[in-house]
Amino acid sequence: MNITIREHSEREHTIDLAVFGEIDVYTAPQLREKLLTLCQGGSHIHLDLAGVDYIDSTGLGVLIGAYKAQKSSGGKLIISGMNSRLARLFRITGLQEIMEFGPDNQEDGKS
């Protein structure tokens, strides 16, 4: 079990991060390390989850940790590319109400 994280920083003050795979208890530490480093840089982070099928609660914890870190440093965490299962997860957990999302997320479907 593995995830791939691709990083681009072509836009000014924004780091684009694309994740591929399942973000779960095994792969979440890899994403956490990456986000921890980036969150200290003061840039906005755009997280593209189009390549992610599934996030478990540990994975969600990593995203919450990044959200908190960005909020306290004045940066933003913007999430996009969510499939309907992920969109449901963000709706159920109430994170949809407080986090920032890009335009290309799938509609919240019942799965």
Binding site: V25, R32, D56, S57, T58, L60, G61, V62, I64, G65, Y67, K68, A69, I92, T93, G94, L95, E97, I98, K110, S111
Partner: protein, 338 residues
């Protein structure tokens, strides 16, 4: 202790050199056991062996004697590693013992069984995927047929989750409500959790108040997997409403309340996401599959429903349990239409 090693070596070596038969090696097994029990490192054993050999064969060739230095040097390396391993093994055992105590303590945080409630049958099945569970549930008796019911999932497993669980438990114990309001209880818990939790952790929870006088269940949710209500008159399950942020992300969160009225035979099922994220042949269990599966057991007492549903899901998952699972059943007594 070392004298025994010396004398045993002398005796065993003398008899074996005199007559190298297999029987003369049997004593070595006992000596070996004693060496292990005494935790004597390999370089020390070899050193005693060499000294004994020199004593028994005084005219041993000087080259052979010198070659022992090389052998001893190699064994010193083993000796160092042996001591490191012994320390790790001891520490490991200490940790195991500590965890065993923690597991026992954690069990005391959970109620042994649901309290009796007039006209209502309650059951709960809760299983940990590892030694310690991150799932929590609680019942709070307010008197006059009113019961508080909580189910929570602490993100993260093992010891950190268990420590967090005690925080929730004692915060709830400290609350003193004459007329409990689920929204206020979740708000209060969120404040405690938000101040005390690690950035990557959070808690999902449902807090409900069951009034057995009018069979209403008033509840609020904090990012928790929606429960189900089975309506006896239609024979169908409905999703329970859910709206509210998980505990521990930010302070000052509002939790809206919802209310259900239970007719005779209606059943509420609350669960944690370990249940709904079970996979059958690689595919997640659908909520509709869960309902179909649960329907088969609704004629049983609440505790049996919870246990049987859990067991069936465990079977269908190929006996793989990746996350803690809790199923709570609140059944208004009466006739079920199945």
């Amino acid at each position: 202790m070392r004298e025994k090693l010396q004398t045993d070596f002398e005796r065993l070596l003398a008899s074996y050199l005199h007559d190298p038969k297999e029987e003369n090696l049997y004593g070595v097994q006992q000596l070996n056991k004693w060496i292990m029990d005494q935790k004597i490192p390999p370089d020390e054993v070899l050193n005693h062996y060499i000294e004994t050999l020199k004593k028994l064969i005084p005219d041993l060739h000087s080259d052979v004697k010198t070659s022992f230095d090389l052998l001893l040097e190699v064994m010193v390396g083993y000796g160092v590693q042996y001591r490191v391993d012994k320390n790790i093994a001891t520490r490991h055992q200490e940790l195991e013992d500590e965890i065993e105590v923690a597991v026992h303590l954690q069990r005391t945080l959970l109620p042994e069984s649901p309290p009796p409630l007039e006209g209502v049958d309650l059951g709960v099945a809760s299983y940990a995927s590892k030694t310690m569970s991150g799932d929590y549930y609680n019942f709070v008796q307010y008197g006059d047929g009113v019961l508080g019911i909580a189910i929570a999932d602490i993100i993260g497993k093992g010891i950190p989750a268990a420590l967090c669980m005690s925080m929730i438990k004692y915060s709830m114990d400290d609350m003193d409500y004459y007329q409990p309001k689920p929204s206020e209880i979740l708000q209060e818990l969120n404040t405690v959790v938000e101040r005390n939790i690690l950035p990557n952790m959070f808690i999902t929870m449902v807090y409900g108040v069951y009034d057995s006088l009018n069979h209403s269940f008033r509840y609020a949710t904090a990012g928790h997997e929606p429960g189900f209500i089975y309506r006896a008159d239609t024979g169908q399950f409905e999703d329970m409403d859910t709206q509210g942020l998980v505990l521990g992300v930010t302070s000052h969160v509002e939790y809206p309340e919802f209310q259900l009225h239970l007719a005779e035979g209606d059943v509420i099922i609350l669960l944690t996401d370990g249940v709904t994220e079970t996979r059958f042949d690689g595919e997640f269990i659908e909520r509709s599959d869960f309902c179909e599966l649960a329907k088969k057991y609704l004629h049983l007492p609440a505790q049996e429903i919870a246990e049987k549903v859990y067991k069936r899901i465990y079977e269908l998952s190929g006996y793989q349990m990746l996350d803690d699972q809790t199923i709570m059943v609140i059944k208004r007594e009466g006739k079920n239409k199945l």
